[in-house]
């Protein structure tokens, strides 16, 4: 565990926290973009180059932009009168804290017995491609179908209703 891991983790967690806590919705979106970038860096540290770049491409290039577009389209950048948190925020926070406590406890319990292997697996993009086209071809096709369905669905859902409908 190098210093880089701690730096990137702090960046990611700070981004996530800011995304949840900030008042201005666009600031939240930009903060979550930072968190996504931090996660991509964590992926890279785990020698998962392909997943890391895909993360940047999909999350920063597409999802973050989609989010800011949605915020501007819904005029969401104003702070609502009733505050940014819902009425049941205490319960929500409690649930989240409880889940973190359970997960953290579980991890710490087994921390000693976790594998220590450190040799980076030599995975090339070629291998990933072959796996996608070989062993995982069925999931790939299903994902393709899902993405197409989601695309059509999103367009239909967000499409402007015509007059008279």
């Amino acid at each position: 565990m190098g210093i880089a891991f701690y730096l990137v983790s702090v960046l990611t967690v700070a981004g996530g926290l800011a995304a949840v806590l900030l008042k201005n919705t666009v600031h939240c979106a930009l903060a979550v973009t930072t968190a996504f970038a931090g996660l991509a860096l964590l992926f890279l540290q785990l020698d998962a180059q392909f997943a890391g770049f895909a993360q940047i491409l999909v999350y920063i290039g597409a999802v973050a932009i989609l989010v800011v577009f949605a915020i501007l389209l819904t005029r969401g950048s104003e702070t609502p009168k009733g505050g940014v948190f819902s009425k049941t925020w205490l319960a929500g926070l409690a649930v989240a804290a409880a889940i973190f406590a359970v997960l953290g406890w579980a991890v710490l319990q087994v921390a000693g017995s976790l594998p220590q292997q450190n040799a980076a697996p030599a995975v090339t993009v070629n291998q990933i491609g072959e796996a996608l086209m070989g062993r995982y071809v069925l999931p790939l096709e299903i994902i393709a179908l899902l993405l197409t369905a989601a695309l059509i669905g999103a367009v239909i859902v967000a499409m402007h209703e015509k007059e008279g409908d």
Binding site: F43, G92, I128, V157
Partner: protein, 103 residues
């Protein structure tokens, strides 16, 4: 401590932050952001387990993460489409005000 535990802890923290965001924010878009954070935390777990697992060359965890990224993209697109559509209908993205089933 094994490096894996560090990644798992970070992932758990991000998951909890995402969950807290999804449960406490009023704005529907920010709830979606929270869900995205949770999905990302899961991805981090998958990749960490793949990296430190017994058979990294089998690529199982990595593949799972890649598919999960794709699904998350689809989910974000549909979710935001829904939010925009609801906004057009109800003129609000505030979840506390969206308490009617009928438009």
């Amino acid at each position: 401590m094994s490096p894996l535990a560090g990644y798992l802890l970070v992932a758990a923290l991000i998951f909890a932050i995402g969950l807290a965001g999804a449960l406490t924010r009023r704005n529907a878009i920010l709830v979606l952001i929270g869900i995205e954070l949770m999905l990302n935390a899961a991805n981090l777990n998958l990749i960490a387990f793949w990296r430190y697992g017994p058979h990294p060359e089998a690529l199982t965890g990595m593949m799972f993460a890649i598919f999960s990224i794709a699904v998350a993209a689809a989910e974000a697109a549909v979710g935001l489409g829904l939010v925009i559509s609801i906004h057009r209908h109800a003129k609000t993205t505030d979840l506390d005000e969206m308490n009617r089933m009928k438009g």
